[in-house]
Assembly symmetry: C2
Homo-oligomer: 371 residues x 2
């Protein structure tokens, strides 16, 4: 039980799948939303990467906790929390929603599922949105119940995931659009399955409602995956960066606004709806844009891990940004990264220099996603 | 940089002291408030325990983040957030304050420092109180600024800590009452130092304002500690349990109320002040108490780690509680734990049986703190 590096305690919550993940020899955990997220299984992130691109993997992503907003004022509160117009949200289609504070600083970037007229789930990244929602609801006297339900997403990711899922729940799985979801019968229960996941290799997430079913669900998928060379996996840093999948806390924080995160198209500025931070966001929209998140490729041999941002300079040595996530890509045969880059250099192809903590200055270029 | 078990990334923030902690050979990290907390240094938690009781240690507790509430409505918001009467709070004396939600569920148990009439710091346990405070302030239209300042507590803990601190800032350090704080000159800057810390062996916390001073402060204390056999350390599970120091997320969550956490004496029920959850708390106060956090001692050889709560039963085999933290104490020569126990068995000396995941049923007794 004592995994290399991380104390086990109730505070850092186990998931319904942790027992299975341990049986499969997980090589360590990260922590997201006070919950364990497996870190690696195969001897290297590179082996996991190649396998994910070619086969199918099962991922314990229970840490994508749901914040449930329920009640007569649920839609009102949900709309207050995001600059995205949620009036078209409906059962069957998840939408990606930036959440911002009163200064238009990013608080999270969940997927929103509207389950019923008065029932919504935010599937959150790493911040306690439950507390933000509860604070707003209390202060504004909204008639809502806000909870974290016993829902623990299990992801099936990779090009063979559709075939695997079809063998379990039937061909209707092929009809789901990207971010679409529906209820399917599995383990004798009705569960929400979405065509989604934290990779761009195709895949599904089962929003398992009922912790006690965790091991059974894992075993069912594991068995069904045998013909498809299934392995246990987890979000893969190489694949994530190449795909341009951002991570709250890494690529952006509450010091960044939605424009810097390329969420311009998700922000509504008309008169028909209001939300927290709208005035601040409008003001920022009227200023000229300063910086945004860009891809980056750089050389100089395998980069050290990006535990704190790497400084990025232009050829004339002025600082023009920072790398926030980085790793070596065995496919592209260079280092790949995500970076916040000033407007002067955010055009793809701009030459830059990346400064890594090993003291090296590495030549690179700004690049668009996917890398 | 790649520590056994825990991915290094910007999301799990390094502290101003992480460089030094790594130089000292830290054996892994935990994560609190999205920030690294060292897990162990000596070959065993037991060695760390004995050293802490006899000497002095330096701890990186930067993860005790400050939530700063500032502005004309600061005192109003702070009072809304806690059932404790904060009218007597004043500069120089920190107070321990339960924070609750509208249902009287525990959200955190920080130490509150009033720095000025309109300026407060909550030194928080592991939940995003910043978001709760911001949500309340927005909804209630309060005139406050809420931020996480660049303040990173460094703790000096153990019986020799007073002597060490006096050698750095003078004998005035002896005048601080428990939880008292004052400004002291250190490294040519003025910093808040409190007589506090997450052990009962005596000690101080330097609320370092200014990350860039981290390594210098560490080195200064390290040098001054040489005559006192200083070692790097961290909150010690054996000492914490014996002392009865609770941990949010372990001993209690938002499903527990302040009475269950023994905070009865911190709850104000008069007419002069109001706070979130007061009605719910009053209602609970009128019911007969159900359960509360108790010490527990049990045998059967060294307990496995308490990654999820251990069930506790009475001698007639009915479930009467759960152990939420546990470890073997080499001093008491038995296992020690913290547990939530039903009223029928919370009297010290009550015989109980603890069921550990290795399949053993271990005889134990309920005990009062310190163990």
């Amino acid at each position: 039980m004592s995994h290399s590096g991380l104390n086990m305690s109730r505070r850092i919550r186990r998931t319904p799948y942790t027992d299975r993940v341990e049986t499969h020899g997980v090589r360590g955990f990260s922590v997201v939303n006070h919950m364990l997220l497996p870190k690696a299984f195969a001897p290297s992130v590179e082996q996991d990467y190649w396998h994910l691109r070619e086969n199918v993997q099962i991922w314990d992503v229970s840490c994508q906790r749901q914040v449930e907003i329920k009640g007569p004022d649920a839609a009102k509160l949900v709309q207050l929390m995001t600059p995205r117009d949620i009036r078209k949200a409906h059962f069957g289609q998840g939408i990606y929603v930036p959440l911002i504070d009163e200064k238009a600083g990013m608080l999270n970037d969940p997927v929103l599922q509207k389950l019923d007229e008065n029932l919504f789930w935010f599937s959150i990244a790493d911040s306690d949105i439950l507390l933000w929602a509860k604070g707003l609801a209390y202060g504004l006297h909204l008639d809502v119940e806000i909870n974290e339900p016993d829902v623990s997403p299990l992801a099936v990711q990779g090009p063979k995931s559709s075939e695997l899922m079809a063998s379990l729940v039937g061909d209707a799985i092929y009809d789901l659009p990207y971010f679409g979801f529906a209820k399917f019968e599995i383990l004798g229960t009705s569960q929400i399955i979405a065509r989604s996941g934290y990779s761009k290799q195709g895949g599904y997430e089962i929003y398992l409602n009922g912790s006690q079913l965790g091991s059974d669900l894992w075993d069912l998928i594991w068995e069904a995956g045998q013909p498809h060379s299934i392995t246990p996996g987890c979000p893969n840093l190489i694949e994530r960066i190449e795909a341009g999948l951002m991570s709250y806390g890494n690529e952006f924080t509450n010091l960044n606004n939605p424009f810097e995160c390329r969420f311009d198209h998700l922000c509504y500025f008309g008169d028909e709806i209001d939300y927290v931070g709208k005035d601040a966001l409008l003001k920022i929209a009227q200023e000229s844009p300063k910086q945004k998140i860009c891809g980056i490729k750089f050389g100089g041999g395998k980069t050290p891990p990006c535990g704190k941002p790497f400084s990025v300079t232009s050829e004339d040595k002025s600082v023009i940004g920072q790398v926030t996530s980085a790793i070596y890509s065995p496919r592209l045969e260079c280092n790949v990264g995500m970076s916040m880059i000033l407007q002067s250099h955010w055009k793809s192809g701009s030459p830059v220099v990346v400064h890594t903590p090993d003291g090296l200055s590495r030549d690179g270029i700004v690049a668009s996603f996917p890398l």
